[in-house]
């Protein structure tokens, strides 16, 4: 198989414009003759479905929740980037492009990233026009803040609920189209198989999660916008239902899966509390604008804190190690996520973690300095030039509350500690997956007619994702890229006519799903689905987590193979196929997670270098920083499935060429 990324010729700043000008169109009168399926209604899917419907195509949209408004995108807290330069701090399309490529550790495609930067400003315009209530300054203009990995303020936000507001914006556009009858919405439906006819994607098999009915749906093109696969680790910041099933099913039908080992571990999550924990909660990275991260300098202090004998406020300033500020003076607490996460792991590995859990893993995120400075500032602004310490504290806390109130409340509910009084405890957790289905510049997978958008594809982030760029990518794909590239593909389909769901391909696909379901329900094993999922998660976190090495990865590959055998032999799935059956839903998803987990380990093993979220312990410099190997590994690793045994998968390489950005070591010092 030859990978053709279809990157257009020309100067980087002109590629997308020129390309768009030459794409084929479907005339408005022909669009109602064409059906499009969109699977997933997060930011990427909802914006795509709304856009296609607006253009006049017939759209069927699917999501497993009871409403598109609940898609995982809703949870995004911090913000969305755009190169608007409203703050006049030197931002530009090029700078956003550059930061994103560098942030991705030079493992992303230049052309895609530039396009993303180009349309970023338009996303904000679009969302504001839809009534998304972004934060504003007193002059009524949009407000911005900064995020990790950049030195400009280009992040637009809506308190700590940016994802919610953006998704509600996309959902309202989608709702409008549903109301107009242009989108048929299928809530509580899960796509379980792709149907190919003559090699092209022509439909899906979906299970109605309430009745259990398997349904056949046909279309001229299928868009997969089903989000990321962080839940492979069982514990992650992802919503509990997030899964890889749609992506994995198309992978098994011929779509390549790219860079599966690139997983983003987010530095600021609430540490694990116990074995019954079901998920991890993120504390937005925007907190790093105001909080300072530290652990005690001395191991004894850390031990005393864990034993409850010392409180963090009792540690003197000179006994604190603000390790990010110490190691990375230029970026300080705002270094990119991978850098911050590894630094946190390092100090905990040295025995200086402060959390009293099984692993002692946790560091402080401290707002005391900010409370002081903002308290004073506010007092001055109010004309009080001689504020008492008490006044300063009150005003400072109030300032924090206005900016991050909901996050602080959330933290307090979960941990039972008051972060205005004592520093937050944080630790890295699995957050985002940069890998995904391989797509070309058109966002088309290697299956014609099957497009993949948002977190489900691999395309824009490289080995690491900077904050506030996933929301941007989801909306860019849905509003501004797919409408062009899918139309170009569909231009050849205006005479095809309706696709019958009685075709033998639909029957066969439905039967294979039925067979898998029946197998699970009649398996009569002894262990629950979660039992296996948790075991998979442990293997993944310990051996394919923040630090990876050859030995661990090799072990992981064979351990997962054994787990897979045991899972299929010994899993017990109660209930029946023709009802709401959450255990069955989980079983189908975990089956795919197990196989993907193995592929992730294989991908990490072949990538003998360190880059972004992929840290191979064998490849680091004397200061513990990542050692990239551009000569040998400047490629996208795209895997082709070869059947049940995932270890037989074949690796294809898409060379990455950097024509417009000079590759350099990533340095945040």
């Amino acid at each position: 198989m030859k990978l053709d990324s279809k990157i257009p010729e020309g100067h980087i700043s002109q590629k997308w414009t020129d390309y768009k000008d030459h794409l084929k169109l479907v005339a408005p009168n022909n669009r109602p003759k064409i059906d499009i399926i969109v699977v997933g209604t997060g930011l990427a899917g909802a914006s795509a479905a709304a856009s296609f419907a607006e253009m006049g195509y017939n759209v069927k949209a699917f999501c497993y929740q009871d409403s598109p408004r609940r898609a995982h995108s809703i949870a995004a807290q911090g913000g969305i980037n755009a190169a608007k330069n409203y703050q006049n701090d030197g931002d530009s399309t090029f700078r956003l492009f550059y930061d994103t490529i560098k942030g991705g550790d030079y493992r992303a495609r230049e052309a895609n990233v530039h396009r993303l930067a180009e349309v970023s400003g338009n996303i904000i315009d679009q969302c504001v026009a839809q009534g998304v209530p972004f934060a504003r300054d007193y002059g009524g203009m949009l407000d911005n803040r900064s995020f990790g990995g950049t030195q400009v303020q280009r992040t637009f936000y809506a308190a700590g609920q940016t994802g919610q507001q953006l998704l509600l914006g996309a959902y309202s556009s989608l709702s409008r189209q549903i109301g107009l009858g242009k989108v048929e919405m299928y809530n509580r439906h899960e796509m379980l198989e792709l149907v190919k006819v003559d090699g092209k994607a022509r439909g899906i098999i979906a299970r109605n999660l309430i009745t259990g009915d398997l349904e056949r749906h046909s279309a001229h093109a299928v868009i997969i916008a089903t989000g990321g696969y962080g839940n492979v680790y069982f514990l992650s910041t992802n919503a509990m239902g997030s899964n890889v099933t749609a992506g994995w099913k198309i992978h098994k039908q011929g779509a390549l899966f790219a860079n599966p080992c690139y997983v983003q571990i987010h530095p600021t999550c609430i540490p694990v509390h116990g074995t019954n924990q079901s998920k991890l909660t993120l504390m937005s990275e925007s907190l790093r604008n105001s909080g300072r991260i530290w652990v005690p300098k001395k191991k004894e202090d850390a031990e005393a804190i864990r034993a409850g004998k010392l409180k963090p406020v009792q540690i003197a300033e000179e006994d604190r190690d603000y390790y990010l500020e110490r190691k990375y003076p230029a970026f300080g607490n705002l270094v990119p996520r991978d850098v911050a996460s590894r630094a946190g792991k390092e100090v905990c590995d040295e025995g200086r973690g402060i959390e009293a859990n099984d692993t002692n893993e946790g560091v402080y995120l401290d707002f005391a300095t900010e409370i002081q400075s903002k308290g004073k500032q506010t007092a001055y602004a109010k004309g009080n030039h001689n504020p008492s310490q008490e006044e300063i504290l009150t005003l400072g806390k109030k300032w924090l509350e206005e900016k991050y109130g909901n996050l602080f409340t959330m933290y307090q509910k979960i941990t039972d500690e008051n972060p205005y009084e004592t520093p937050m405890k944080i630790y890295p957790a699995v957050h985002y997956t940069m890998g995904g289905v391989w797509v070309d510049y058109n966002l088309q997978s290697t299956i014609p007619g099957c497009f993949v958008a948002g977190e489900a594809n691999f395309s824009d982030h490289g080995a690491n994702r900077l904050g506030a760029s996933a929301l941007m990518q989801g909306l860019a794909d849905g509003y501004f890229v797919l409408p062009y590239t899918v139309s170009n593909y569909l231009a050849d389909d205006i005479r095809t006519g309706k696709i019958s769901t009685d075709l033998p391909e639909f029957v066969a696909a439905e039967n294979s799903v039925k067979e898998q379901i029946n197998k699970f329900l009649s398996n009569n094993g002894t262990k629950t689905v979660d039992h296996f999922h948790k075991r998979l998660g442990l293997i993944m976190w310990n051996k394919v987590g923040m630090g990876r090495n050859e030995k661990g990865l090799t072990e992981a590959i064979s351990e997962i193979a054994a787990l897979k055998e045991e899972f299929f032999k010994d899993v017990y799935v109660p209930g029946s196929a023709d009802e709401l059956n959450p255990e069955l839903e989980k079983a189908l998803r975990v089956a795919d997670f197990i196989e993907l987990g193995q592929l992730m380990a294989m991908d990490a093993l072949q990538r003998k270098e360190s880059c972004g979220g992929h840290f191979r312990e064998e490849y680091q410099d004397s200061e513990g920083e990542t050692l990239r190997d551009d000569e040998n590994f400047s490629f996208v690793g795209a895997w082709e499935n070869k059947g049940y045994d995932v270890t037989k998968s074949e690796l294809h390489k898409e060379e990455l060429k950097y024509e417009f950005i000079k590759i350099a070591a990533r340095n945040y010092k």
Partner: protein, 253 residues
């Protein structure tokens, strides 16, 4: 801060096979529940126990488990989202309960939210209200004007944001003795009423949304205020008043 400990509890949970069959309360004992667990993690633990005993696990709705998707529901000890304020069920923690407690768990109860199974109810009526007008009719073509050419006074923007913070969980409906959806609809109407972008369609929006709300079988608001108390996002009754004003002026046009 209280250190986590383990407690034993008894649960009375509503079981109902599907929308057609009648349901009933069932009792379950569950030991060794960490007080650091969330309420839903406790239910996971119970389900693990039930599956291991070859009994059918309890179906309940959830997804984000961070208090933002609005998917979790549950009436706990007679209160929507349980005995704490300003939170959803997934953010309720077991430290709110004591060793030996009996906890009663029921689905949202409202005509407009029929039970699907056990604790899972159908809230699609909310979506249909939204489809009737909860949007700004702007094309998704990207040909919009620069965002800063639509300035919005900070106070209005903040208020619109507060209204937009509704997560569509339905606690307001479940807790209202009339099963009214006014807080939810009021929040949506307010968000757009406060922003310049929504003005053009304001009349149709409020008329259509209210009409759809009535068609879905939601009850009337009698200003009891229970909704505001149980709303996890602190959506204020002001929004109902604003909607009423919008509705009145729309009806007079």
């Amino acid at each position: 801060m209280s250190a986590a400990k383990n407690i034993n509890i008894t649960l009375q949970i509503w079981r109902q096979k599907n929308s057609k069959e009648k349901g009933k309360m069932e009792s379950y004992k569950l030991n060794n529940v960490s007080t650091a667990s969330s309420f839903l993690e406790m239910l996971d633990q119970l389900n693990e126990q039930l599956v291991n005993e070859r009994k059918e696990p309890i179906a309940f709705d959830h997804d984000c488990r961070e208090g933002i998707c609005g998917m979790c529901s549950l009436y706990i000890n007679g209160r929507a989202h349980g005995p704490d304020t300003g939170i959803t069920t997934c953010q309720l923690h077991m430290r709110m309960f004591n060793d030996g407690d009996t906890i009663v768990v029921e689905p949202w109860r409202s005509v407009a939210f029929p039970v699907i199974k056990d604790l899972v109810v159908d809230r699609t009526a909310f979506d249909r209200i939204q489809q009737a007008g909860g949007f700004v009719s702007v094309n998704t073509s990207g040909n919009t004007i620069d965002a800063n050419t639509i300035p919005v006074p900070k106070d209005d923007a903040d208020k619109a944001f507060e209204a937009a913070a509704c997560i569509g969980c339905g606690a307001c409906v479940a807790t209202c003795k009339n099963g009214s959806a006014m807080l939810f609809v009021g929040a949506k109407v307010s968000q757009y009423a406060l922003l310049p972008q929504g003005k053009v369609e304001a009349t149709n929006r409020v008329l259509n949304m209210v009409r759809q709300m009535d068609e879905e079988g939601f009850g009337n608001c009698t200003n009891t205020g229970a909704c505001e108390i149980e709303c996890p996002k602190g959506i204020s009754l002001e929004n109902i008043a604003r909607m009423n004003r919008e509705y009145l002026s729309a009806s007079l046009k």
